[in-house]
């Protein structure tokens, strides 16, 4: 609105020096401003986001790439340019590959069950329930709880000696599991932490998409003799495709950047090691360790950029996979 007003006043000021000209010229000036207004002011309205994103998002991103070309100590007055040496060192770094495997293992153990459970939960919530809002708020509760509190509680539950989980396992007659020392067990414990927090959130997004599916389609399927399972796979799932793509891509981005959970899971308070032999150190945790514990900012920046590229790659792979999985014969969009 204010831009239109400014444009109008601008027009009046603009034609003052020319003096009383012919009426036609005044209207074209105005017309032109009106056209500019329609054409450009939307860009002006969205500009604040992009300006701020440029300052706090894009600039650090590019600056990190710049830093990664230096041997840059945290307290360093004259960092020296070393080209791609940080990247070369990174690809020969056994700890990096170990953290990469850890990250993917934790990501798969969390994201896959998470999305499947979210869809199933959403399907359950979509049936006729008493007090539906209560149930929906209920499954969102873990998401509302503080991540740090969650991490501390779960690290306690999975304590190898005095943890509740091992206590239960023993009562049931199973063997204790060393959730800290065993690599796979620690990944499972961390994945459970992630799933606990995010499943409900994703379920609500899927639920919203489910409710947007026209009833007629289900009714038509019923008339055609499809049972509830068949309807779920042939009607619901294909129509959820755009939402599933969104859920899978966001959980990929989140899943590959898991940081707080493994940091708090470590028995050693404040440790960035991710276990005694880095058995559950993720890439982000390694990046943090490189930057603020080993004070090697250049190397940490290289880790950050490699992680960025990996996330883009995996998100693309997921995008195409999800498209294939959730496609029926015909493409609707």
């Amino acid at each position: 609105m204010s831009t239109e007003l400014a444009a109008a006043t601008g027009a009046r000021q603009g034609d003052e020096p020319t003096g009383p000209g012919p009426v036609r010229s005044r209207s074209t000036w105005r017309d032109r401003l009106g056209r500019w207004d329609v054409k450009y002011s939307p860009y002006l309205y969205v500009a604040p986001f992009f300006v701020i994103f440029g300052i706090v998002g894009l600039f650090p991103l590019l600056y990190t790439a710049w830093v990664s070309l230096f041997d840059w100590d945290l307290i360093d007055d004259n960092p020296s340019f070393i080209g791609l040496e940080n990247y070369a060192a990174l690809f020969g770094d056994a700890q990096f590959w170990k953290t990469l495997v850890n990250t993917f293992s934790i990501f798969l153990l969390s994201s896959v069950p998470q999305v499947i459970m979210a869809v199933l939960l959403a399907a359950l919530l979509n049936t006729r329930l008493r007090a539906p809002t209560g149930w929906r708020v209920g499954i969102l509760m873990p998401y509302v709880a503080s991540l740090v509190a969650l991490g501390i509680i779960f690290a306690n539950l999975f304590g190898p000696n005095y943890g509740l989980v091992n206590g239960i396992l023993e009562t049931v007659g199973l063997d204790r599991v060393d959730w800290q020392a065993d690599r796979f067990a620690s990944h499972v414990a961390i994945a459970i932490m992630v799933n606990w927090r995010w499943t409900g959130y994703n379920a609500l997004i899927v639920l919203a998409a489910m409710q947007a599916i026209p009833k007629e389609l289900h009714e038509a399927a019923v008339v055609d003799g499809a049972g509830p399972v068949r309807r779920f796979f042939s009607v619901t799932l294909p129509l959820l495709r755009p939402t599933l793509i969104f859920v899978v891509v966001t959980s990929t981005i989140g899943g590959l950047q898991i940081f707080t959970e493994p940091k708090l899971f470590d028995a050693m308070p404040g440790s960035n090691n991710g276990g005694s032999t880095n058995q559950f150190q993720t890439i982000t945790l390694y990046m943090y360790q490189s930057a603020f514990e080993r004070e090697d900012l250049g190397y940490a920046s290289a880790v950050a950029w490699v992680l960025f590229l990996i996330i883009i790659l995996v998100a693309l792979v997921n995008f195409f996979l999800t498209r294939r999985i959730a496609t029926t014969g015909e493409d609707r969009r």
Partner: protein, 430 residues
């Protein structure tokens, strides 16, 4: 980073130009607020027991206002300290530094004032225990920090568990068990056998670090070369500790973890290396149900040792370095440290304070009414020398030794653990 630094630089140069101008006009020594009062800031973490002292200092020096900045945990405090040291601004006029981070501060000693020059002339080295004073010097002999408190090591043990296993329980009689590390681990074997498998100590890293600190040199020699592999004493200590782990003496509980806390309640181990401040930790974690079962004796395997304690430094960033040094000197005087001891139990490092009747009369009810002030004063004098610690020494203890020993406790072989320790320390030293 670089951009921000340039702005900071520009800003500070403007500030210092303004300062110069103000100094030229007013003819005073430094920038002062309009009413002529100087504001000093001081950064501490945890408990230093200084709260009551600030007001007293302000009363004694009407032109000084003190603004304390207190951080709860040492970890984030020191992380911020090094970040601000790098940024070139943001530090307080007086900054406390913990002993474990001191080696990293000494490595950057050019960013701190020499308190021997800057501080009041009447502050002499003999104010402190010699080893405490020596540890505050950098390689060139520059005094970077005034000592505040210390954590002399003694041995804590469970009387009831000792009795059940047929070991002596009297503080005088148990001393023979804690004479050397060999006698300590021998007693451990006996205890584990008699008690049916209860652990002797909480975790291997707690012992190894104490043993390491008793060596003549740390992980680095004085030319800052890593000596982990070339100093046979380090490997010998490693072998002793890991052998004890393999014989079931360790409870494998990482210090200060939740499981470690639970370990005190469930009587998971019988002895604990005990700096003065550990008595409070044990009382809190073991709880009233174990009152009177823990005891402490003035003996420590291999002589003595120290764990913890801090220094007060004045960074070159400070705009009132002389006033800041005067404040630090006053706070670390014996009279003030005794007040801090009474307020929060921080154990003084000053020779006079260690002889004060108030300290010697202190007792601890949880540990059976033991005269703990006198006991730890005795232990403090047993610490022989200040070990030279190269840059990264503290990090090696924390991020190379501790995880590698934890890996051994979790089932890795001592050789695998040693390799991990050597590799990790080489990476930190890089």
């Amino acid at each position: 980073m670089r951009h921000r630094r340039r702005h900071v630089l520009a800003l500070t140069s403007i500030l210092s130009a303004a300062t110069l101008l103000a100094a030229a006009c007013g003819g005073s020594g430094g920038p002062e607020s309009s009413d002529g009062r100087i504001e000093l800031t001081i950064g501490t973490f945890g408990e230093f027991g200084y709260e009551g002292l600030y007001a007293e200092y302000e009363r004694l020096h009407p032109n000084i206002t003190i603004t304390p900045h207190k951080t709860g945990q040492g970890g984030p405090y020191h992380e911020a300290l090094f970040t601000k040291l790098g940024a070139g601004s943001g530090l307080d006029d007086v900054m406390a530094v913990e002993e474990g981070h001191l080696s990293d501060v000494l490595a950057k000693s050019s960013r701190f004032h020499d308190l021997a020059d800057l501080g009041p002339a009447d502050v002499k080295p003999d104010r402190w225990l010699d080893w405490k004073y020596q540890a505050g010097l950098d390689k060139q002999g520059k005094l970077v920090g005034y000592g505040t408190d210390i954590g002399p090591l003694a041995m804590c043990y469970r009387k009831d568990l000792f009795q059940q296993a047929g070991l002596p329980t009297d503080p005088q009689e148990v001393k023979s068990l804690f004479e050397s590390w060999d006698s300590y681990f021998e007693a451990g074997d006996r205890f584990v056998r008699e008690s049916g498998g209860t652990a002797w100590f909480d975790s291997a890293a707690q012992l190894f670090n104490a043993m390491q600190n008793q060596l003549q040199t740390g992980f680095f020699d004085r030319s800052d070369t890593l000596v982990v592999e070339s100093n046979p004493a380090i490997k010998q200590n490693w072998d002793k500790v890991t052998a004890a782990v393999e014989r079931g003496q360790s409870a494998g509980l990482v210090a200060f973890s939740n499981e470690w806390n639970s370990g005190f309640k469930s009587s998971a181990f019988a002895t604990k290396t005990c700096p003065s401040w550990m008595l409070g930790v044990i009382e809190e974690q073991a709880g009233p149900e174990h009152a009177g079962q823990w005891a402490v004796t003035d003996a420590f395997p291999g002589g003595g040792g120290n764990w913890g304690g801090s220094y007060l430094t004045v960074p070159t960033q400070s705009e009132h370095p002389e006033e800041a040094a005067a404040l630090a000197a006053w706070l670390t005087a014996p009279e003030q440290q005794i007040k801090a001891f009474k307020a929060k139990g921080v154990f003084p490092s000053q020779v006079q304070a260690l002889e004060s009747p108030e300290l010697l009369a202190a007792t601890n009810d949880y540990f059976g009414g033991v005269k703990d002030g006198e006991l730890f004063a005795t232990q403090a004098r047993k610490v022989g020398h200040a070990q030279y610690k190269g840059p990264g020494d503290g990090k090696i203890q924390e991020n190379a030794v501790a995880p590698a020993l934890q890996a051994v406790e979790q089932g890795a072989s001592p050789d695998e653990g040693w390799r991990q320790f050597v590799d990790a320390s080489a990476q930190i030293a890089r």
